[in-house]
């Protein structure tokens, strides 16, 4: 399988001098196209840090980071922003949706922000995606009126809006009960199977990790698996 993301010798340290925290200490990992991988590790091991770097939201202290053969470490903020808009989707644990907008408006945001306008075509694709995640009857609900599981499914739909190659999910089910968590994971697995979208999902839950084809663990700042 072809490599979608390659990181080699990734180093990330926070702070300086006495308070310096070395989180990633030469981490190397490759994600292949179409993979669905779990990211495991103790709390504080650096899962969120790695996802932020892979999502171009944070710059590594050192190391190589290639995605789609583009060197992410040399691109400027505007280039990274445009790249992530087209190629990377996110699902976070908290603060996932824009609270003053409806489910549909949230889903089409990644496309509308690109063109500066909302079009009927976008809205149609947004409705299809919401139907795909089982929320056809919640299209015009405002975010506060959605349940936790529904919010995460809206976030999944939004992550898919621009048909990205990679979706990064940081504890996407951390806030959900086991039934809702299972539903979201089922959805992710389906999308991975049908669309071939690559997923990297950080989690503390072994049942979720077991649903993925691959388990990557971070310990002492390096990855195994």
């Amino acid at each position: 399988m072809t490599a979608l993301v390659e990181v080699r010798g990734l180093v990330k340290t926070f702070g300086e001098g006495e308070t310096v925290t070395r989180v990633l200490k030469g981490l190397t990992v490759t994600l292949r196209v179409g993979e669905m991988a779990a990211l495991l590790g103790a709390s504080g091991s650096g899962k969120s840090t790695l996802l932020s770097i892979l999502g171009t939201l944070m710059r590594p202290t050192a190391g190589e980071h290639l995605m789609l053969d583009v060197d992410m470490t040399v691109a400027d903020d505007a280039a990274l922003t445009a790249f992530r808009n087209r190629h990377i989707g996110f699902v976070f644990q908290f603060h996932n949706l824009l609270p003053d907008f409806t489910a549909l408006e949230n889903v089409i945001f990644p496309t509308a922000v690109q063109t500066g306008r909302e079009t009927d075509g976008m809205r149609q694709r947004g409705r299809d995606l919401l139907a795909r995640v089982g929320l056809a009857d919640r299209i015009d609900f405002r975010v506060p009126n959605l349940s936790g599981g529904q919010k995460q499914r809206v976030a999944v739909a939004r992550a898919l809006m621009n048909q990205p190659e990679l979706v990064l999910a940081d504890e996407p089910t951390g806030n959900l009960d086991s039934a809702a968590a299972a539903q979201v994971m089922e959805l992710i697995a389906e999308i991975n199977r049908d669309a071939g979208t690559t997923f990297l999902i950080s989690t503390h839950d072994s049942r979720i990790a077991e649903r993925c084809q691959r388990q990557i663990s971070i310990r002492d700042g390096v990855a195994t698996g």
Binding site: L57, R84, P99, D100, P110, V113, G116, N162
Partner: protein
């Protein structure tokens, strides 16, 4: 609708109570701006109308050096020229110049005037008077004598004269009374009092004698020409510009009221400056209010800003969102304030009917569009720093909060 505007608008409607309060605050600032504009404008109109309504706006005289230049040499002529200069220069070809002046855009009225000084003689006492000769048809054109008439009429035909009320009191003159008038050149004629007027504080109102051009000419020994041409113009605020045109077209000595009544001009300038300062403060308060509200708003929305950035919103997009929110606050507050300002000044009587005890507010001078424009601009400027701070938010930290 552009996408940034939609988001900016959504942010406003998301907290309707808070936004309404903010917009109302902006509107109050705009209200103060409009009230001050209407008040300063009204004061300006009232003062210029009161002070200038009864006097010449632009006065045209012969240039003094030219009078000398036109006169041939010789001792006798020199003597004459001296005398003329003390009496004021004579505008010899007034009849030729008057239509040229009347044709200048903005000029509403022109009137030829012969002026000088003399004495009214009544019984044993004489009273010094200023003598003003005008055409019988234009007696009330520049100075509205008809409006200030106490007794009699404004008829200055024949040997009729009009006298100021103080003069009439001092010499116990009444309408129909015959009284000798002696000019400074020594000529004397018995005139008939046809009317008594009171110009109040107007220039020389109390001791003035008004008569026809012909009588003034013979009494003051002015065989031809007049002392000056007086004019009134439609807009007293552009007197200097109109004066420049008249000067260019006639080559005469042209004096706008801004020079002859420089004290009024100074008072108006000071008043206008007060108005600018008060209005600037109103705008500054609006800007500070919007800036602090926008800082709070952007701070509260940090997690969302992080999400937008993660979804691929550029920093410029984030700036544009909050600038559009600020612009909408300014625009809505401005329009609301303009409407409230209009309603506030609506009950005040028109400046023309100003009665002491109220404020001379001119509803037409509220500067409504300017207020809305400046408020909108100010609100956008006020949002620049908060918007830039919002765009600089670190998405990882914001989302992790």
């Amino acid at each position: 609708m552009p996408y940034v505007l939609k988001i900016g608008f959504r942010y406003l409607t998301a907290n309707p109570g808070q936004s309404a309060l903010l917009i109302f605050g902006v509107a109050l600032g705009v209200l103060a701006f409009i009230f001050m504009s209407a008040l300063i404008g009204g004061l300006n109109t009232m003062i210029t109308e009161n002070m200038l309504g009864n006097s010449s706006h632009i006065t045209i005289e012969a240039p003094e050096d030219r009078v000398r230049a036109l006169l041939p040499g010789g001792p006798a002529v020199h003597l004459l020229s001296q005398q003329e200069l003390t009496e004021g220069s004579i505008l010899r070809t007034a009849d030729a110049f008057e239509p040229v002046i009347a044709a200048v855009p903005g000029v509403v009225v022109t009137s030829q005037v012969i002026s000088g000084s003399g004495f009214l003689i009544q019984g044993g006492s004489t009273a010094p008077v200023s003598i003003t000769g005008v055409s019988a048809a234009k007696v009330s054109e520049i100075t509205d004598i008809a409006a200030d008439l106490i007794a009699g009429s404004t008829d200055i035909s024949g040997s009729n004269i009009l006298v100021g009320s103080r003069l009439a009191d001092d010499l116990r003159l009444s309408v129909g009374k015959a009284v000798p008038l002696r000019s400074s050149t020594g000529a004397e004629r018995v005139m008939t009092v046809a009317g008594i007027f009171d110009l109040g504080m107007g220039p020389g109102g109390g001791s003035a004698v008004w008569l026809s051009l012909a009588n003034a000419r013979s009494l003051l020994g002015m065989s031809q020409g007049v002392s000056r041409i007086e004019t009134q113009i439609a807009d007293v605020n552009i007197a200097d510009a109109v004066a420049d045109i008249i000067r260019a077209r006639t080559g005469l000595k042209v004096t706008p009221w801004t020079e002859s009544n420089a004290n009024i001009q100074d008072a108006l300038d000071a008043q206008a400056q007060t108005g600018y300062i008060v209005r600037a403060f109103a705008l500054i308060i609006v800007v500070i209010g919007v800036a602090s509200a926008m800082m709070l708003s952007t701070y509260r929305r940090r997690p969302e800003i992080g999400i937008m950035r993660a979804m691929g919103a550029s920093q410029r997009f984030v700036v544009a969102v909050f600038l559009s929110q600020g612009m909408l606050i300014g625009l809505l507050g401005g329009v609301l304030g303009a409407a409230l300002g209009f309603l506030l000044v609506l009950p005040y009587p028109a400046v023309d009917n100003y009665t002491p005890g109220t404020l001379p507010i001119d509803i037409r001078q509220g500067s409504y569009a300017l207020a809305v424009l400046l408020t909108t601009l100010g609100a956008v400027l006020a949002s620049i720093l908060p918007a830039r701070a919002a765009a600089a938010v670190d998405p990882v930290q914001a989302i992790g909060q």
